[in-house]
Symmetry: C2
Subunit: 533 residues, 2 copies
Amino acid sequence: MADRRSFWAWCLESEEPTDEDRAALAAKLSKRYGVEVTAEPVPSLGDAELRAPRIGVPDSVAGWCSTTTYDRARYAYGAHFTERVRAFNLDFPNPPDAVAHPRDDTEVEATLDWCDANGYVTVPYGGGSSVVWGVTPHDDLGPTVVISLDRLDRVLEIDDVSRAARIQAGVFGPCLEDQLRPSGHTLRHFPQSFRFSTLGGWIATRSGGHYATNHTHIDDFVESVRMITPAGWFQSRRLPGSGAGPSPDRMVVGSEGIYGIITEAWMRIQRRPVFRATAGVTFGSWQEGCEAVRHLVQAKLWPANLRILDPAEARRAAGLDGEQALVIVSFESAELTQRHNIAQAVEIARDSGGTVDDDDIRVDDGTGAPTGRGGAVGAWRNAFIGVGNGVETSLGLVDDTFETAITWDRWPEFDAEIRSRVGAALDDTFGPHHSLSCRFTHVYTDGPAPYYTWSGMGAQGSEIAQWQAVKDEANRAVVDAGGTVTHHHAVGRMHRPHGYDRQRPELFAESVRAVKKRLDPNGILNPGVLIDP
Amino acid sequence: MADRRSFWAWCLESEEPTDEDRAALAAKLSKRYGVEVTAEPVPSLGDAELRAPRIGVPDSVAGWCSTTTYDRARYAYGAHFTERVRAFNLDFPNPPDAVAHPRDDTEVEATLDWCDANGYVTVPYGGGSSVVWGVTPHDDLGPTVVISLDRLDRVLEIDDVSRAARIQAGVFGPCLEDQLRPSGHTLRHFPQSFRFSTLGGWIATRSGGHYATNHTHIDDFVESVRMITPAGWFQSRRLPGSGAGPSPDRMVVGSEGIYGIITEAWMRIQRRPVFRATAGVTFGSWQEGCEAVRHLVQAKLWPANLRILDPAEARRAAGLDGEQALVIVSFESAELTQRHNIAQAVEIARDSGGTVDDDDIRVDDGTGAPTGRGGAVGAWRNAFIGVGNGVETSLGLVDDTFETAITWDRWPEFDAEIRSRVGAALDDTFGPHHSLSCRFTHVYTDGPAPYYTWSGMGAQGSEIAQWQAVKDEANRAVVDAGGTVTHHHAVGRMHRPHGYDRQRPELFAESVRAVKKRLDPNGILNPGVLIDP
């Protein structure tokens, strides 16, 4: 049997942690926090008791529909902490009744027709990397079919002249890049979920990618989309730009599966970069570093990377002293030296109080060698790339991230308010054993996209409730202080209470409802995401 | 009395052409084309016979509503050639019954309430620069009220830290820049209509601006919008970026007044540029020049200006030999020298076969002196800036432009097909006396936005019918060949037949209808624009 995705951990089955790994971590946590932490054994699917499927699969779709326990457990959840805990605990109150793996547009359409005719809850499913409860609903809303796009994984056409490609929506990040690489191309969209997320998921959720400035979201790389809805196909025209009415693509981008299922898209691609330049600049304080980032982005040099780690993150990830902030600025190009850009960026950073040795400004003029893998920048990069394989699940540790965006004029007060309110919630929930830190993942001329990471040592068995207490306050605080409840993680079901439902214009919600009613009159698609009907 | 806009010509009343100007031009045309051209005298508003207003203005809105002949004639049309001819001929079959000039949001809302309660056709009106029949309908659809935003003309707040400003929608281009200039800011949005168009109009129509690459449309500069609809206020949150559902702003941008009336917006502004660099590069052929533009834009240097004139335009506007194409590339910045960028751009242009003397590469490192006002570039600039004041109206000359966007892979065939089909329509309509030429106004990594200009010497009195014959074929040809029916002139009523109605996904039209039904249940706003109800 091929190496499958773990049904509970964010990895392949072959990469799951062992009971020994977990026992060792439990012992370490027990010692560090003075509490008794017990490592339950890693779960076995054979022990899972799933409700029997409540629907029969007719011959018309049987060729690509599955009702195996593996599929029903595997597709019961997305990737969020709370969902990983539930899967670990074999807690599957609402598994899908069937999982479809259609192999082409015709099979997607047939599956959707079957679901619509019967009023089944229908969930488009890409890589399952949602961290916002954006896929299978946890509550029972009736018979449920997951439509996985995993077999729609091909790059269908590459247009080297226009630098664009027609790509099926179900392709995972690495497989997509493998297909673009032989002709020298790349999409260069690398969300943290890259390994286990898909093009269609990126488009449906307005994924944030590799570029920290200018074209940050997948939105800007979409040339046209193809989507099947219960009302029929929605296919936009390939256009480099247009002013003909509101953009049809922008209606689909961010629709999170409530209007239809994206099956393919024409995407703007590019030549693989070979010219690079990078510098890591230290600042005496978080505030000073943030001001430097503002000056850098407002100079419109459009660096590929422009990030800042607060002193806590800079210490943890890059070994700095806990007072200093670290700014990373990088440029890349397939065709042109980036030495002038990095020189101008460094000048701005130094004028803003930053420190960087000339030796730490790395320029590569076409060898293609990485420039960002040494020193503080490299240390940070390695810390970022690593994503846990579930070893800590259900050991009482609670952690999460939340991200937002805010205009510069409000930034320092916003940051203070978030740290104060979420810090208080962490205090209340975890006592002394918690952390809260921040970096910018993306930056705009009019404001940053701050990304907060928090963790706390909680009580085994209470992780989900403890997480919820902190999350509620984070949603409230972000929206109260003027930010967006999500910059690139999407809304799903998680970000609605205290958050999205207060943030978006009420008449926009009405408009989304009106569109959904027209495209999905029976309301089968991803109910509860973004809106109530 | 203050100098008012001409009710028929694209200028102020004081700038209208005289009968002598027109007689001289008529004589010139008679001689050139061997036909008798007679210059009718410039029209006088006193000779206009307008249908009496069919509605009374109640006290609740009387303070800002007008029923004068001047207002009703002035707001009866937009700026299109066909509308200027009609106004010149005092042909006003469907003047608005009243014109409102509300002074604040409350008065806008009261006016809209009045219209909605009575089912009056309601037209939001900015500068009236629409060239797509996007404002007052020509056909009688019932009592009609124009809501002019001309008194909402203030910059309300400037946020220098975030580089953003809160601006009322009715401000005209020059007045907007006048209010931003004292603090060193600019919006730098300079459509050809700049003098007589407004911020709200730019947003409602997805106006194309100063920047030829990267952020070409007004869309990218909108931070948030405020719009009154019959269903209430639609106010989005100020955010530098977001991934929370489909963008509310992108639903409003391009909605062409069918959902509501934009009253203000937070816009991304910038420091005024003082560093500049420009080069004009000649190419032996149109095709060679277009390939160079493709290489230039795909290098992602993001020049502020990157345009190409075909040999006909390069001869007419810049004095070249009729074989050569002219590429203009310019960079600008408020903070950084642009000498490296222009050097890299020139290298690409030369590698692509272009010719430019080193002396013709102009760099200004901070004096703020213009760099693009000498030589071929300057000649072209002066030709572009001049817009006719109506001297040629109703003398038999017919002229217009149309603009589109198309991916690079289709470009040469697209251009050939457009020239062939529109050329044939010009032949059929005008015989030998016509011209057709092209430039790029905006350029994307995946394709250009070509802008075609045509003219023909037609028959006095038949100008509108002759124009229509060519326009129908242009709409058809552009959409048949894969382009968009408009890149930045908007859809209005003109671009629907043969064009927009075939181009947009049918389910998108259904979605727009559904949203309109929710926001404007009585269908009073700008009926016939974008969709039929």
